[in-house]
Amino acid sequence: MTLTRPVVVGAGVDRVDGPLKVAGAAAYSSDITLPGMVHVALVRSTIAAGRITRLDTGAAEQLPGVLAVLSHHNAPRLAAGPTNNLGPTPPPPLQDDRIRHHGQYLAAVVAEKPYQAAAAARAVTVEYERTEPVLRIEDPAGELRTDPFGMDATRGDAAGALAAAEVVHEATYVTAENTNNPLGLFATVAQWSGGRLTVHDATQWTSNTCQTLAQMFEVPESAVRVYAKYVGGAFGSGLRVWPHVVLAVLAARTVGRPVKLVLSRPEMFTGIGHRPNTVQQLRIGAARDGGFVAIEHEALQTVAMDDENLEPVAASSASAYACPNVATRDRQRRLNIPCPGSMRAPGEAQANFALESAIDELSYLLDMDPLDLRLRNYAQVQPQFGLPWSSKALRECYQVGAERFGWSRRDRRIGAMRDGRWLVGYGMAGVSYLWWQVHCEARATIGSDGTGYVRSAATDIGTGTYTVMRQLSAELLGLELDQVRFDLGDSNLPWSPQAGGSGLTGALGNAVHAACRELIRTFLRTVVNDSASPLRGCTIDDVAVSGGRIHHRADGKLGESFVAILARHGLDELTADGVSDPPDPQEVGMAPAGAFAAKFVEVHVDPDLGLLRVPRIVSVVDGGRILNEKLARSQIIGATVGGVGQAILEETVTDPRTGRIANANLGDYLVAVNADIGEIDVTFVGEPDQLTPLGTKGVGEVGLPGTAAAVANAVYHATGKRIRSLPITIDDLLG
């Protein structure tokens, strides 16, 4: 059986959950209401380091509606959560009197009504013994962790090659802390019933939340069910089981009633991760003809006390360009800050700014067009493995992008292009996104009415998983879209990895592919000796599916419907499971490729007032096989907007004395609004990836990196000012 009918897949099918969301009928975790449900409000630390000397809940407990106040005085000791492929679970809350960061949860108030819980939370008084917090990334008082991910890469002799290089560019680049800020406030609804736990959560990974809560509360995984039917955005902040989730579960157990905990916007800044700020040193050595001879990339980022965060920054530079001598080094400084975590394109968003800015700078030293310099150093094979890529159309990204953007109209002289008062700059950047794929499971069923039901524990965080998996299932089972249901967001369904790392569509798509194929095989086995079946004795390679039927590949008339097979054999349904696992590169003789992209950006700068506008961005993406071009395009548009935010607006500001986040609301933390966004042009190029049957590559993140570097490079082209620190704001550009 082959995918011979690219009718449903690839098409710009509208989101199947769109009408529900537009009508307000999609129940996010904050919309879940259970009989007898009570509410939790949180008390947070107002210092960044030290210990609690007194925590008085007496007044709070006397307030109307209050059922319980949990603190380190009365909270039970919880087991540590598991370590998974993203690292350990964040430390469980309320376990001791230590303050690790400003905003740390110190108490949880449970009350009948949300406003009663909020009022009581304010009535909890806390006294502290303060110690000096470590808050700055440069502060040597903070523990320095070297090679925290075991991913530091060495190829050849970078230091030696740099010393001998004809041209060397060396500079330090800084990226600000950013906060994910999904629109949907994170919420957890938890209910215990006879030793069984049910949780509705804003998570990107129900399977992990289930395993983690089971381990922390020492109950079997089979006694825990986690739902995340709809998630109001996450951008990585829903990848871990954060302390508020644990507190909701603990509160529900304490009061013996279902509870709801909805984070406030300020709490969203301290409780669910953020993109860590970085300081990065780049050294690139090149020959006069532009060939790279060495790349050294050292990146320092922040990490919280008692926590880890998988955020390889420098590591991604090892495989971006053909270069014989490479050294990458990642380090983390441990600070009294809220736990960093993944935020759309973790690591790469920061690294790409540094690397692609540095290459732009080098292009001026070499007097080369920055696009030509990238093509000159194009990595035809994966430079770390020395293997051919499973797919790579970055060259096409550059070529198509240059054409669509009009790169040839760029006057290479600095400040030479103008639009009235505005200086005009063109900049570009390349993106080589890391590959990520993990084990995934799915299950497929066809019932006696001939409809399909395919499911997995995966989540749809607004990206379109419901839609593309229904499309894929319909195609693989030969059914129409409205004949298939795809279900997800339930940990009782087959195990799924996180909706993260741009890896879910690939992992889940291939698991769905496997499950659907296995289901067709199951049908064929059912009729293998059935003399009444025109499919008797057929193997999967002999058949195709369409119109609710299995039929001979060579003769479409020779076949029968799923309904007929089930009826004749007295079956209500047939079900099959499928799994997908990432291939071993050495075994397949290919280097697994992530997505690639080229970004071309036009900026306008008012040099007198420092105003910076980004009227035009062209993105060309090699995402392998695109399952739904409309949704994939939306992913690139959204990520590009996030990239503009990183480039010119977003900065989480930490007060240097207290460690308090000073702009923890959407009025003061600036995300891009419509008026900041001009024309966004998105094109997909490339071929299906050779590594998997479906040929997809994830496109959830590749649209973000490259934006900031291309903006900074365009700003230089317009003004001659090289801004090596994000975000680029008015004060950077005042002439």
């Binding site: 406030s264 007032l609 105003l611 207290t658 600036l670 008026a675």
Partner: protein, 331 residues
């Protein structure tokens, strides 16, 4: 949030009596700032809230010389008024540069005058040192980070909190008058005398006494020959308070500035009337050199912290740009 009593006032006199007689009472109009400060931030904790939204204080009337705007008129209503569009275009620009359509449909003109500062330190009750909230407790903002949004004019060691209104910038330049009803009747207060500099008491923000109710503003209509503009400079293209804004109105006759009105936003602890700049401008030739001298005169002694160090220069340039767009350069 603390529990409070909600009362709807039947008439103006009753409203004034209700609030004047109770130190823990506050008026409630559009609520776009106040409800945040009460319910979300816990900064305001009134025991009684007197809803004035049903009082007959909404509406706009104009004669040849004055536009009278009821205090409960919304920002959107004022922006849509034909007299404003024709005679006060820079006030219209300022209105539409502020907040969002949703907020402008709720927010009232009286409330805009009395909006509280956006200072991130004032608005977080977890910050103990705020002279505006708790007199003599200190100012966390001065040593704090992210100080871009703070004031540089009228500011000092006690307080650098900004008055963030856009609308008040043209209003203060136009010599707008505030009509106030207190227990002893009605008063008319020029907007230029309405606000108090922080000085030793940043907690005292206006000359109003507790219970005084803003009923209307009266905007003198400038001569038809005057040209006006509002220029707002900010990082985000929309929905952000100004880093610097300039409301300017100029009459130029034969290359000479005969009348100049200038207000500054994004820089003052109060809506800033740039009188020093106006003095330089009035009677001077309409040249960039004059504009620069005016900007220099106004920004002679700014109070800056590291985060606002760039703002004096940005303010000078924004003033020059705004004036140049209106008056041209007759050099």
């Amino acid at each position: 949030m603390r529990a409070f009593e909600y009362v709807r006032a039947d008439d103006i006199g009753a409203a004034v009596a209700l609030v004047s007689g109770d130190p823990a009472a506050q008026y409630l109009a559009g609520g776009t700032t106040q409800v945040d400060l009460m319910l979300k931030d816990g900064i305001l904790e009134p025991e009684r809230v007197v809803d004035i939204t049903r009082l007959p204080l909404r509406g706009i009337t104009a004669d040849d010389r004055t536009l009278r705007v009821g205090a409960l008129t919304t920002m959107e209503e004022l922006a849509a008024d034909p007299t404003v569009a024709e005679r006060l275009p820079f006030a219209r620009t300022a209105l539409l540069a502020g907040a969002s359509t949703q907020l402008r449909n709720m927010a009232t003109i009286g409330g805009n005058l009395l909006q509280r500062t956006r200072c991130r330190y004032f608005r977080d009750p977890g910050v103990p040192d705020c002279n505006k909230r708790t007199p003599s407790s200190g100012c966390a903002a001065i040593t704090g980070a992210g100080a871009r949004m703070h004031a540089i004019l009228g500011a000092g060691e006690t307080c650098i909190a900004l008055h963030a209104s856009d609308l008040c910038v043209p209003l203060v330049a136009l010599d707008t008058v505030v009509r106030v009803r207190g227990t002893d009747g009605e008063r008319r207060i020029p907007l230029t005398e309405f606000y108090l500099l922080p000085g030793d008491r940043p907690d005292l923000e206006t000359v109003l006494r507790h219970g005084d109710l803003v009923t209307a503003i009266e905007i003198p209509l400038p001569p038809a020959a005057i040209r006006s503009g509002y220029l707002k400079v900010r990082d985000r293209a929309s929905y952000e308070f100004a880093l610097v804004s300039v409301a300017a109105a100029l009459t130029v006759e034969d290359g000479t500035i005969t009348e100049a009105r200038l207000g500054l936003g994004g820089v003052g602890t109060i809506p800033w009337r740039a009188r020093a700049a106006e003095q330089v401008l009035t009677g001077a030739p309409a040249t960039v050199e004059t504009y620069r001298a005016a900007a220099e005169a106004e920004l002679r002694a700014p109070f800056t912290v590291p985060g606002t160090a760039f703002k004096p220069e940005l303010a000078r340039r924004t003033i020059v740009r705004a004036l140049e767009e209106l008056g041209g350069d007759r050099t």
